[in-house]
Amino acid sequence: MSSLELRQIEKRYGGYRALRGINLRVEPGEFIVMVGPSGCGKSTLLKSIAGLVQVDSGEMLINGRDVTKAEPGDRGIAMVFQSYALYPHMTVAENMGFGLRMAKRPRTEIDAAVGRAAQILRLTDQLDKLPKQLSGGQRQRVAIGRAITRSPEVFLFDEPLSNLDAALRTQMRVELSTLHAALGATMVYVTHDQVEAMTMASRIVVLNAGSVEQVGAPRDLYSNPVNRFVAGFLGAPRMNFFEAKIVEARLGQVSVETAGLGRFAMPVVANTPLAIGDTATIGIRPEALKLVGNRDGAHFSGAAQLVEYLGRETIVYADAAPLRCIGSDTGTGNVTIHLPGIAQLETGASLQIAFDPANAYLFGGAEQRTLSAPKTI
């Protein structure tokens, strides 16, 4: 078990700043998941930790030892690649033992380490096969076995499950969590899949445009995102955003007005930069919206445009004009509603929708910081 510390890590590609002053401290035994949209720098950061990418400035410490300039093989890390990157001409056993062989360890020690890893990953019967004779899931386990054999201080995973089919991915997710518990090792895991992030992480690091947006436990990040980006990135289906105007500002509370939503009061943090007349963004998670029976209790009404039945949940996309969602993926302005169970709704059905203003978020200022009062978990 080892700690990992990143201090002011910078990486440029020509004029493009891929990593902008990354600071992060990973405690021994933590499972850190780095998420972010494509091109946010998460893979570059992982490869920098591995030493496969040379950073321009900043420091990197593993267990307090400066490894900023160290060769990948001397850092005490092991990496599992998205493409598995197994040596195609070596058997499973040779693949897993290659690191120790390069370190000139005695034959008996290599065999013992490979045997142990194979047992953990149920690969004992496959040791003499070549990678091409294995299934995708088995290859993935060999790649993990290769990492285990080196008994590294820090494990690095670069989107390891994205080449597997959905069922296998769920299974491997559980296996990786179990493995982490069994080894107690420090792991850094990169993914774009937020289910992987939410389920496996001790802490999630959300990256955007080469910077860390927020670091925290999955539940914290979900309930109390620091800004609109994190709020929009975590959670599927995505949070609904509406443009609003501040019509009243008092200490700890503002009133906002939105076309279609009317006016309502929200608790906010103590020192908001908001003044009357400012525009801000209201965020409401799809699961915070409820269908109500009549117009009296409703905040707004709409018509179901598309209904997706997922079995234990139903997702409704509603046209609630004049209320329009901003920044949605589809650009339709439809409001997303996430209902438990099977909701018997026809396309075109008229809906009365309500929510608790205490569950809504308010984002404002130049960086769209979260200004609504923190939610209790």
């Binding site: 591995a50 030493g51 496969l52 060769e71 093989g73 990496m79 990157a85 197994l86 040596y87 390069m102």
Partner: protein, 293 residues
């Protein structure tokens, strides 16, 4: 009409597509090889009537000391040419480094590829010229006199092979450069994480990914050594006294200069038989590789 076409198109379409290649291959390769074999059983001056002599041409060939000189020279070509794939790999590894100025160096290594081999032969003939050639100048700088390589029966074949090696190395370098560009960066990364450096990286991670390229480089170099003709023709015409001749050149000389087409065809047939060994090896590997994938 259409229904007949539909019923037959299972085999008709592929046949139609393969037909042009089959016809071309049949006329240019198979038919001319067979005709060459037929001619080799005759005495023929190229214009007059052909006289059946059976295996006489072959009997004469195996008693001809010049044939064994040519055969030995072909063997020398083959052995020395085998330096081209490793040398090409070495240069490819060198110019593949991300260092400023490597592009210029890389294009310099490309030069012999765009030169006609006749031009390479002429250039090296100048280099070897006693008195004022580059080699003579280098030797005189050290106060020595350069041997007249192209008129020395012991050195001449080595001098010609050395000249021919230059474009062959460049060709292998291009093959390996293409191979190096298609290396999996993840595999290299995995090797680095596993602590493989320098020779270990080359031996255990890089070279195994280049086996197909190596195979092609060796096969093409071997066949190139066996069919060598142009450099000999330009630099020595097989001289002095036939000591630098190779089978392909001897065949040409017998047929064109001595009007002995039957005898020339017999040499060609022997050459084809030798090459068939390499071609069979090449084909069997390719067929096995295709069966695997």
């Amino acid at each position: 009409m259409t229904s007949i076409w539909r019923r037959q198109s299972g085999w008709a379409t592929p046949t139609l597509f393969i037909l042009p290649a089959i016809i071309l291959f049949g006329v240019v390769i198979v038919l001319s090889s067979l005709q060459s074999l037929w001619i080799s059983l005759h005495d023929w001056d190229g214009m007059g009537a052909m006289t059946w002599v059976g295996l006489d041409n072959y009997r004469e060939l195996f008693g001809d000391p010049q044939f064994f000189v040519s055969l030995k020279n072909n063997l020398i070509w083959l052995i020395i040419f085998m330096a081209a794939p490793p040398a090409g790999l070495g240069i490819a590894l060198l110019v593949n480094q991300q260092i400023a100025g490597m592009r210029i160096l890389k294009s310099l290594f490309f030069v012999p590829l765009v030169l006609a081999s006749v031009a390479v032969g002429v250039v090296f003939t100048w280099v070897y010229t006693p008195g004022f050639g580059l080699l003579a100048l280098i030797f005189s700088a050290f106060g020595a006199t350069a041997p007249a390589l192209l008129s020395d029966e012991h050195f001449v074949t080595f001098a010609v092979v050395f000249a021919a090696l230059w474009p062959q190395i460049a060709f292998c370098m291009v093959l390996y450069l293409a191979g190096l560009n298609s290396l999996s960066s993840d595999l290299i990364g995995a090797g680095r994480v596993d602590g493989a450096k320098g020779w270990n990286m080359l031996r255990h991670v890089v070279l195994p990914q280049l086996t197909q390229v190596t195979f092609i480089a060796i096969a093409i170099t071997a066949i190139g050594a066996l069919r060598s003709f142009d450099m000999v023709s330009v630099m020595t015409q097989g001289g002095p006294f036939g000591s630098s001749s190779v089978l392909a050149y001897q065949m040409y000389e017998q047929s064109i200069f001595s009007y002995r087409f039957g005898y020339g065809a017999a040499i060609a047939t022997v050459l084809l038989a030798i090459m068939a060994v390499f071609i069979a090896w090449y084909l069997s590997r390719i067929i096995r590789a295709e069966a695997r994938s």
